[in-house]
């Protein structure tokens, strides 16, 4: 038990260090990027030089980079991501207001792409019909090759503009709040496609590999049916790579959601990021990046926990060496 705690303590610690490194790099990058945050504060209206200097002093922009870095780090660690230049509201509030919309796409996207990938991957791996296998595998290669911004635009062109079946923009009809199911369909398809295709391919090859293992012969010699062999012996072993892939997939889906939210006018974190970059709202950009990083780190830690539960050989690392009997 103690070894388990040490393992996860180390994992938490290294995740935290990674977060600090990511913040530092982003801070440096944004510092180096062109653009003037004061301009986004005052807007396009001409202002006096005096007013401009007042603003610079009020936001501490006259201090050195190093000073501002440590002040920012300090406030981030206390949970304060600063105040948005454009709206004058706390950055954290703005992000949390959008986080729900992003997760409303990202979580179903992860579930669908994982479950769908497992099911189709297993079907492709165990079918004796070569056409079905080729169809699924070939379809997966095709789906994986489609760029998601293009797919999103095509879906809008076909299903919204031409056929008029599904709405193209926003989370709900105009004047309504909340998220309407029909508004989710197209963004979800766009977000899911490539990850889904990737999962199919991984699951297929992983299942084929585990069904070729020697222990399958032992299972056959026990008189199990093919079906029983696939589910009892193939599946638990074939799932191990899928766990890792799903962990990575969370990061990929969050990254993909920036594009999808832009294409579908979906007011989530990704769209907030795009808006903030356009407005030079540096603190919001940093804040969104930090929240995305935290989401990915949490996904990584969960992946590690689930993998430990699924593979007893990994749990062995928790035991002190030499205790095997």
């Amino acid at each position: 038990m103690k070894a388990v705690l040490i393992h996860y303590g180390k994992l938490l610690g290294s995740s935290f260090l990674l977060l600090l490194v990511v913040i530092t790099i982003l801070f440096a990058l944004l510092e180096a990027a062109p653009g003037d945050p004061v301009q986004s504060l005052v807007g396009d209206a001409p202002v006096s030089e005096q007013f401009r200097e007042q603003l610079v002093a009020a936001y501490g922009l006259d201090r050195s980079v190093v000073e501002r870095y440590f002040i920012y780090m300090g406030s981030v660690l206390t949970g304060d991501l600063g105040t948005s230049f454009t709206t004058q509201t706390p950055v954290l509030d703005r992000i949390l207001g959008r986080l729900g919309n992003t997760l409303a796409l990202a979580i179903p996207a992860t579930v669908i792409s994982t479950l769908g990938g497992i099911i189709l991957g297993v079907i492709a791996a165990r079918t004796r019909n070569p056409l079905l296998d080729t169809g699924i595998s070939g379809g997966a290669v095709g789906m994986f090759s489609i760029p998601n911004f293009w797919l999103g635009l095509m879906l809008i062109a076909i299903f919204s503009v031409q056929l008029g079946w599904l709405p193209a923009q926003g989370t709900a009809s105009y004047g309504q709040s909340g998220i309407a199911l029909e508004h989710m369909v197209l963004p979800l398809i766009t977000l899911v496609t490539s990850q889904f295709a990737y999962n199919i391919r991984v699951m297929r090859s992983s299942m084929i590999e585990s069904l070729g293992q020697d222990f399958v012969d032992t299972a056959r010699s026990k008189g199990l049916s093919y079906r029983q062999i696939v589910w009892r012996h193939g599946m638990p072993n074939a799932m191990l790579p899928m766990i890792t892939i799903t962990g990575y997939g969370v990061g990929l889906i969050l990254a993909g959601s920036v594009l999808v939210e832009r294409v579908f006018g979906w007011p989530g974190m990704g769209l907030l990021l795009v808006e903030s970059i356009n407005n030079n709202d540096t603190l919001v950009v940093l804040g969104v990046a930090i929240v995305i990083t935290v989401c990915i780190l949490i996904a990584n830690i969960l992946t590690d926990i689930v993998y430990g539960l699924a593979d007893p050989r990994l749990r062995a690392r928790f035991r002190p060496k030499g205790s095997e009997s």
Binding site: F215, D217, T218, S221, P236, P312, E324
Partner: protein
């Protein structure tokens, strides 16, 4: 020897030929015109070098050849009175569930790494009781683990394969194979992957379990010493054929076939350590190959 003419053998292989695919268009005749029989309670051995077709013969009887449609079987395999060549999947499944058990060479890779040892034995006793575990079956599996040489089977049954040593894993495979109470046990190189000290104990376990459960045994090995100590009759295989068969004592003391003679000479003797290791001469191999083609 129990081979009386009026008793029918438990398993009888007649004129067996197995063709296995080796590439997209190539295939190999792994087994050619093999005749073999084993009677109830009898222990026989198949010896021969790598590639002689002994494993393929064993797997044919156990119904564990690759499932590819390009695997071609000809001849006759009769197990417990039933012709198995051309039999459907259900008939084979019956044979595998109840009649023939198999022990494999590599004890680690033949156990499922993510399933506890106890469950893997239970599955062999009652394949259908996977979801609702039956305490009676669990109790039985502990007994078979005990029979396979684990003095405290409860502890072992909770372990995963990677937590066991090579010898222990091989005992688990023995427990799995005997747990369905088969009429015939086929052991394919059961001790080859183990070191010599463990080998002896695993063989003893195998011998006692087989005689206690009245199971017939086909022991496949390239190790003549192992086969000699365990069996009543021996088949010698070379290039996919049985070149000689007979009682173990006769084969060892007065081998007829030149290949058997050469094979026996190539065993390293501990009592004569200065003698160079004999290897089967190339001329003999060529000569046998010529006879084969003719």
């Amino acid at each position: 020897m129990s081979a009386e003419p009026e008793t029918t053998p438990l398993a009888k292989v007649t004129d067996l030929a197995v063709n296995l695919p080796t590439g997209r268009k190539q295939s190999v005749d792994a087994v050619r015109h093999v005749n073999l029989e084993v009677f109830a309670g009898e222990k026989i051995g198949i010896i021969g070098e790598s590639g002689s077709g002994k494993s393929v013969t064993g797997r044919s009887i156990a119904g564990l050849l690759p499932t590819s449609p390009r695997v071609k079987l000809e001849g006759s395999i009769i197990v417990d009175g039933e012709e198995m060549i051309g039999a459907d999947a259900a008939a084979w499944q019956q044979v595998r569930t109840h009649k023939v058990g198999m022990i494999f060479q590599d004890p680690l890779t033949y156990l499922n790494p993510v399933i506890r040892v106890g469950r893997q034995v239970e599955e062999s006793i009652a394949p259908s009781k996977w979801k609702n575990r039956d305490p009676v079956v669990q109790e039985k599996s502990l007994n078979f683990l005990r029979l396979a040489g684990f003095p405290s089977p409860t502890e072992v049954s909770r372990k995963y394969p990677h937590e066991l040593s090579g010898g222990m894993r091989q005992r688990v495979l023995i427990a799995i194979a005997i747990a369905k109470r088969p009429r015939l046990l086929i052991a394919d190189e059961p001790t080859t992957a183990l070191d010599t000290t463990v080998q002896k104990r695993v063989l003893e376990t195998l011998a006692t379990t087989v005689s206690e459960t009245q199971t017939s045994l086909i022991l496949i090995s390239h190790d003549i010493g192992v086969v000699a100590s365990m069996t009543e009759r021996i088949y010698v295989m070379y290039r996919g054929r049985v070149v000689e068969s007979g009682s173990t004592s006769q084969i060892l003391s007065a081998p007829n076939h030149p290949y058997t003679q050469a094979l026996l000479r190539s065993v390293r003797s501990l009592s004569e350590p200065d003698v160079d290791l004999y290897s089967i001469p190339l001329e003999l191999r060529r000569k046998l190959e010529m006879e084969d083609v003719a």
